[in-house]
Symmetry: C2
DNA sequence: CATTTTATTGAAAATCATTTTCAATAATAA
DNA sequence: TTATTATTGAAAATGATTTTCAATAAAATG
């Protein structure tokens, strides 16, 4: 598991270390509020603002991913490696998929558009197993 | 172009008609604020709250689509027919793609997950022509 | 057509995730 | 060890969206 390396451009603070450690422990893609609750159990003096700032910071350092849910709050992923995300439109949960071995999209209109899709972190929206009812 | 049909479950108001007509005129996927500005030119007495409510209402009637941009505000599409959307991560613009003739995603993990992706309104995130720099 | 019912409207206030402000603190350079 | 300044925490600000509530007006009813 990656750690925050020393660097003359930023400071390695206990708050940042705790936020990184806590988010790396789970695969639930927690919201900032949920990370805050996890972090509070380790050090109750850490504020919500600091959690938001640490998450932004860690994302810029490419140690975590920030995922914008369709609903409202952003969600965070402690694994910054290339993988796919499945967003449930009903419950808002986000699942990982690692073995997306082949994604093929054929579209002349897409080619003509000049748009460059990001397939490394492909996002699929739909309904998850639990919500399919 | 579809219109709002009479129905005993809701009322056909001038506000709802204007919101629908205005959003059907453009293919820019405007935000609620932008729709508000368009609507204001037709009838300056219509409030922003009513625009939000009309957009929600029209989406429930399947006359428009609501698209959640990665950034912040929702965007609306006056065409509710099956098509694909390209979201630019930089400028936030949303483009349509209609001829997505073949989308193929191979993944055992996806199959096992029980997740049902919505391919009819596939969303691709990436960088648009103008922002590719 | 007149009347009644109640869904809809508009303005203002509330909400809620996130960001900013600012003085105090502490990581790290000197 | 001291000095520098990035980072922190609390509170206030922000901005999109939603809710409240009294007034209005669709459309059902007589």
């Amino acid at each position: 598991m990656k750690t925050l390396p020393k660097n003359r451009n930023y400071r390695v603070t206990p708050q940042r270390k705790i936020v990184l450690e806590e988010i790396q422990k789970v695969c639930t893609h927690p919201t900032a509020q949920e990370v805050f609750q996890m972090v509070q159990k380790v050090d109750p003096t850490i504020g919500l603002t600091t959690v938001y700032r640490s998450l932004d910071f860690l994302e810029k350092q490419n140690l975590i991913l920030k995922l914008q849910s369709k609903n409202k709050e952003a969600r965070y992923d402690g694994n910054p490696e290339k993988h796919c995300h499945l967003f449930c439109k009903k419950c808002g949960a986000v699942q990982d998929i690692f073995d997306v071995s082949d994604v093929k999209i054929t579209s002349n209109e897409l080619k003509k558009s000049g748009f460059t899709p990001e397939f490394d972190f492909l996002e699929l929206h739909g309904i998850c197993k639990n919500c399919i009812s």
